[in-house]
């Protein structure tokens, strides 16, 4: 007998089976390059770009929340999401993003291709977008994404399978989608895009897979690629003399650009950090300095050409990426750039030409080598002979991971999250195979004898002004505010506020999961909020294996002073969310 079938109910978008509103107000329509240029000075109520402003300072002048009232700070709302079904990196996903806030709407990316628009006053989900991530995509460091960019009515985000996509900021629908990396070569995308002029600029991830790092720029409107800048030169190109002349090493040279750069409109230069060379720990197969790995490259955004570079760890043998932020600041009329490197040293450069101004250690223990006041690097402990184990500080996660420092022009202090963890590394040569991890070593990171700090560093002398000690490394970005406060989360879940002048802990809240993200602040109708994504995961085996089993989490908390934040009765009485 032939079976008769009924029609199953029609397929629906999964998100529609929720309380998601389905659209957001058109707040992003008029976000332009010109507005982002003046983000901090003209509209401190918003957090318009990854670092809050092009200079990477992660400083907001908002001061409603300050040292006098911080003890009353309380959660205004929590947005949490979780995961569905089987997804890539199910054990390693983390919430690493820096939210973007435009006129009361928060745009945010999560793990596994999720992007959300959220009412920044109430936490109401306005729309969601899901980009499907292949289960088998190569991920060096977990299922993560560091954030979105917003301009001209669009939300830009990269995906783990190395697409850059533009979403309609009102509906969340995809407007264009461009592939910018090769998943078969171990490339992926985790960086928060940067909008400069009419371009959206993104970098590649995958430095542990032996690929060739690059920055790509796409037209905001069309998604057409404007340029690609490789961070490892081909034979004959400038810098190629720092690679073996007769080998194939440059083809797997690494130097990926997986953290957002900063930008100086006066110099018309992007300052973008580059990652480790490949293979990470086996330097014998890539003799030379290996430019432009572990460097900051100053890139012309109009054509993608490298104007100058400074290499922090020539011929890296410790996995000391230099992707971390270059903070732009000025002192005595000099245009400077500050960079806390994984290698444990704090560099100040002249950002007009890349000249070294000062280099000082900020790490607690540095045994891998030494950098003198002139920037001369002397390696001391490194994996050399096959099968011979060495131990060094800081380990491959560095004295500071990608998570960002902040700079307050008010206190003229830098605030850095510091890690103090060693690692044991044994060189193990392996043949390169495309799409397979290419470390050249066996690595185990210490699970004990570790600590962390928040350190305040004087901008004029690079000397430490205060420190706050933690029993585990500090692995989250710092936020500095005009309220003389410094915010940073701990791996054990506490979100803390410090007195920016003294380092005294003034407030803390246990968020239930470790912090590995970038908090931001914004205000709506005069009420200041501080928001922090919380969700422990990612490359925990690299930066804190002692907390591999800690609660995973997947929430964003937004805090405000009681009485000033959204109240339920407001929404109910108005019948709407805005």
């Amino acid at each position: 007998m032939t079976q008769e079938y009924t029609d199953a109910p029609s397929a629906v978008r999964f998100g529609r089976q929720s309380k998601v509103v389905g659209s957001a107000p058109p707040v992003a329509q008029d976000v332009t390059y010109e507005r982002i240029l003046e983000a901090r000075s003209e509209e401190p109520q918003n957090w318009l770009t990854y670092y809050g402003a092009y200079d990477g300072q992660r400083y907001s002048p908002l001061d409603e929340i300050n040292t006098e009232n911080i003890n009353r700070l309380a959660p205004a709302w929590v947005f949490q999401f979780g995961s569905f079904g089987l997804h890539a990196g199910a054990s390693t996903y983390a919430f690493e993003a820096a939210p973007i806030v435009v006129d009361g709407v928060m745009f945010l990316s999560g793990w596994d291709g999720w992007v959300w628009a959220i009412d920044a006053r109430t936490g109401q989900e306005l729309w969601r977008y899901k980009h499907e991530v292949p289960f088998d995509v190569g991920l060096c460091c977990g299922n993560v994404n560091r954030g979105v960019a917003v301009a001209k009515g669009k939300v830009f985000v990269v995906t783990l399978n190395a697409h850059v996509i533009a979403l309609d900021a009102v509906t969340g629908e995809c407007v264009w989608d461009a592939t910018y990396g090769d998943v078969r070569a171990g490339e992926s995308g985790t960086v928060a895009p940067l909008v400069v002029k009419n371009l959206v600029i993104v970098g590649s991830s995958g430095g542990e897979f032996g690929n060739r790092g690059h920055l790509d720029a796409f037209d905001l409107d069309t998604g057409e690629r404007a340029w690609r800048c490789y961070t490892v030169p081909k034979p004959g190109e400038p810098g190629s003399e720092t690679w073996p002349a007769d080998g194939e090493a440059w083809q797997r040279g690494g130097g990926n650009c997986w953290v957002t750069g900063t930008y100086d409109p006066e110099q018309n230069l992007l300052y973008w950090g580059t990652g480790n060379p490949g293979p990470d720990f086996d330097g014998e197969v890539r003799e030379g300095d290996n430019l432009y790995t572990d460097s900051v490259i100053a890139v012309d955004p109009d054509n993608g050409e490298i104007r100058w570079h400074y290499q922090f760890t020539p011929h890296d043998l410790w996995d000391y990426d230099s992707n971390m932020e270059s903070i732009l600041f000025e002192q005595d009329g000099r245009k400077l750039l500050a960079h806390f490197d994984k290698n444990g040293y704090f560099f100040v450069l002249d950002r007009t030409n890349g000249e070294l101004v000062r280099v000082t250690p900020f790490a607690e223990r540095i045994t891998w080598g030494e950098i003198d006041a002139n920037g001369k690097v002397t390696p001391k402990v490194y994996p050399d002979k096959e099968g011979e184990t060495v131990h060094f500080f800081p380990g491959p996660a560095g004295a500071k991971e990608w998570c960002h420092a902040a700079y307050s022009p008010k206190t003229q202090l830098f605030y850095a999250p510091v890690q103090d963890t060693g690692a044991q590394v044994t060189r193990r040569r392996r043949e390169f195979k495309e799409g397979t991890p290419y470390w050249g070593a066996s690595v185990t990171v210490d699970s004990d004898n570790m600590q962390g700090f928040v350190k305040a560093i004087d901008a004029s002398t690079s000397e430490e002004v205060w420190r706050w000690h933690n029993d585990t490394p500090m692995c989250a970005s710092v936020l500095a505010t005009g309220g003389d406060l410094v915010f940073v989360g701990a791996p054990s879940g506490e979100f803390r506020a410090f007195n920016a002048h003294t380092g005294e802990v003034l407030w803390e809240f246990q968020c239930g999961s470790g912090h590995h993200s970038s908090p931001v602040t914004y205000s709506i109708d005069g009420t200041q909020y501080v928001a922090v994504p919380v969700g422990w995961g990612s490359w925990v085996e690299g930066f804190l294996p002692g907390l591999m089993g800690a609660p995973h989490g997947n929430a964003i908390f937004s805090f405000a002073l009681p009485g000033s934040a959204h109240r339920v009765s407001d929404a109910e009485s108005s019948g709407q969310l805005y």
Partner: protein, 156 residues
């Protein structure tokens, strides 16, 4: 220890042990062990496929669906089981979800990138753990302009 490739294929060993049957070797059925099927590309360039849930097997058949390339695909889902299930399917934009009542059928349209593979499931109770997880495999390569400028490399 006997391993696949020495005497038998992995599929044969799994079958012999009963891992590809419901409540046999283990409680459920090992995921992605319900056969393999290929999507067909029509004259209009659209890819199409059909996937069933057979009676009492707690499995998608095929449980490995192969697409020759990334793009849009129409999949007809048929529930021949006498229990109600659902389909939670991967698709760019948002996941697609539908009820699959007893003896029902319906169509879902998905948009997926290649290359790579994705899981789909019935997200009721523990249908997933019992065997109702399937994979959609997308073949192909990324566009030429996205690839690295370097000579071809050795692969595993």
């Amino acid at each position: 220890m006997t391993t696949a490739n020495e005497k038998q294929s992995l599929s044969e060993m799994v079958s012999e042990l009963g891992l590809d049957k419901s409540n046999n070797a283990t409680i459920g059925r090992l995921i992605a062990h319900g056969g393999l099927g290929h999507a067909e590309e029509g004259p209009d360039g659209r890819m199409r496929a059909q996937i069933r849930i057979p009676l009492d097997e707690m499995i998608w058949d095929p449980s490995i669906l192969v697409m020759p390339r990334g793009g849009e695909i129409e999949i007809e889902l048929i529930n021949d089981d006498t229990n109600t299930h659902c389909a939670l399917m991967p698709s760019n934009g948002d996941k697609q979800w539908m009820w699959l009542p007893v003896y029902s059928k319906g169509t879902v349209t998905l948009d997926l990138d290649g290359p790579g593979y994705y899981w789909f499931s019935s997200n009721l109770g523990n249908d997933e753990g019992q065997g109702l997880f399937g994979a959609i495999v997308v073949l192909g390569d990324v566009p030429e302009e996205a690839r690295l400028d370097r000579p071809p490399q050795t692969r595993p």
